[in-house]
Amino acid sequence: MKALLEYMAQNLVDHPELVQVRERPGRYTITYDLKVGPDETGKVIGRSGRVAKAIRDLMSVAAARQNKRVHVDIE
């Protein structure tokens, strides 16, 4: 799941080396904190949050495959 988030984020920004993903496991829900380079947050959020929604939808599929729930926080 972490690999999916890293893959999407790194390929959406101009500075993939600045992408950081922190994983915080819970009993049912895993939370990911996504951090990207300065001025690149917009690239992972998008107009009206469309990119962020796509990221969260696809992360939910990956989570469902492991019978988990997922929460993605974008810093």
Partner: protein
């Protein structure tokens, strides 16, 4: 008039793809089979829209951006391969096993320049996984398609139009929406009262409008804003 040539494993599949691309019903197009296809030969059909009155809801094809430089076969093949690879990369990280089959179609654009659409057909044995990819009313599929378009355009510095379809969902959804539209229209006809459908996206509302366009006993309108926009089917005004 829009005409596209499309190849697929079988003639039926090619026609279905073409109808989805053109946003048309089978009775709104002329179909020519150019190659019937065989065991290791793909079928090729030419499908031409008979009438071409476009809805406000822009079709995916109209939204296709024409690339700045002329694209030869090699370039287009490369975009197909890149698109397929990106989708496969996503699946691998989602723990989903699926087969991705890219099909390229070209339609003449507004200025006659070719506009291409790449459809990535996804097939997988795991029905549950395929259902997850589609999501409720195709919402996850829309997100997947959006993400693939973003990632591909960043990679190739162009905006090819990429459609992602899972297990022919788009065609099946179209057929079920058309059936729903006709059933509700029948109830409207009998009761003489308008009925409102559930909220739908632009693409799906368009399917409903088109399904009832030839029906003189009812007329359709979209009402509401944004996420809650829905189709209302009204009885035809009395003469």
């Amino acid at each position: 008039m829009k005409s596209i040539e499309i190849s697929a494993r079988t003639v039926v599949e090619a026609i279905q793809l073409a109808l989805v691309q053109l946003n048309k019903d089978r009775d709104e197009v002329a179909i020519e089979v150019l190659e019937a296809g065989g065991e290791d030969e793909e079928a090729l059909v030419r499908v031409t829209a008979i009438d071409d009155d476009d809805d406000d809801d822009a079709s995916v094809l109209e939204a296709a951006a024409a690339s700045a430089e002329p694209t030869g076969d090699t370039t287009q093949l490369t975009i197909e391969q890149i698109a397929r690879r990106i989708l496969e990369d996503l699946f691998a990280r989602m723990d989903i096993e699926a087969f991705v089959d890219p099909v390229r179609t070209t339609v003449p654009g507004q200025k006659g320049e070719p506009e291409e659409t790449i459809t990535l057909h996804v097939e997988g044995a795991d029905e549950e996984a395929m259902g997850l990819l589609i999501g409720r009313r195709g919402e996850t599929l829309r997100s997947l398609q959006f993400m693939v378009n973003l990632l591909v355009s960043r990679r190739v510095q162009k905006w090819p139009q990429i459609v992602v379809d899972v297990g022919n969902y788009r065609q099946r959804r179209q057929e079920s929406l058309e059936g729903l539209a006709r059933r509700i229209a029948e109830r409207v006809r009998q009761s003489g009262r308008p009925l409102t459908l559930e909220p739908m996206g632009a693409y799906e509302r368009r399917i409903v409008h088109l399904a009832l366009r030839g029906d003189t006993s009812v007329y359709t309108q979209s009402a509401g804003e944004g996420e809650t926009r829905k189709v209302v089917i009204h009885p035809a005004k009395q003469p």
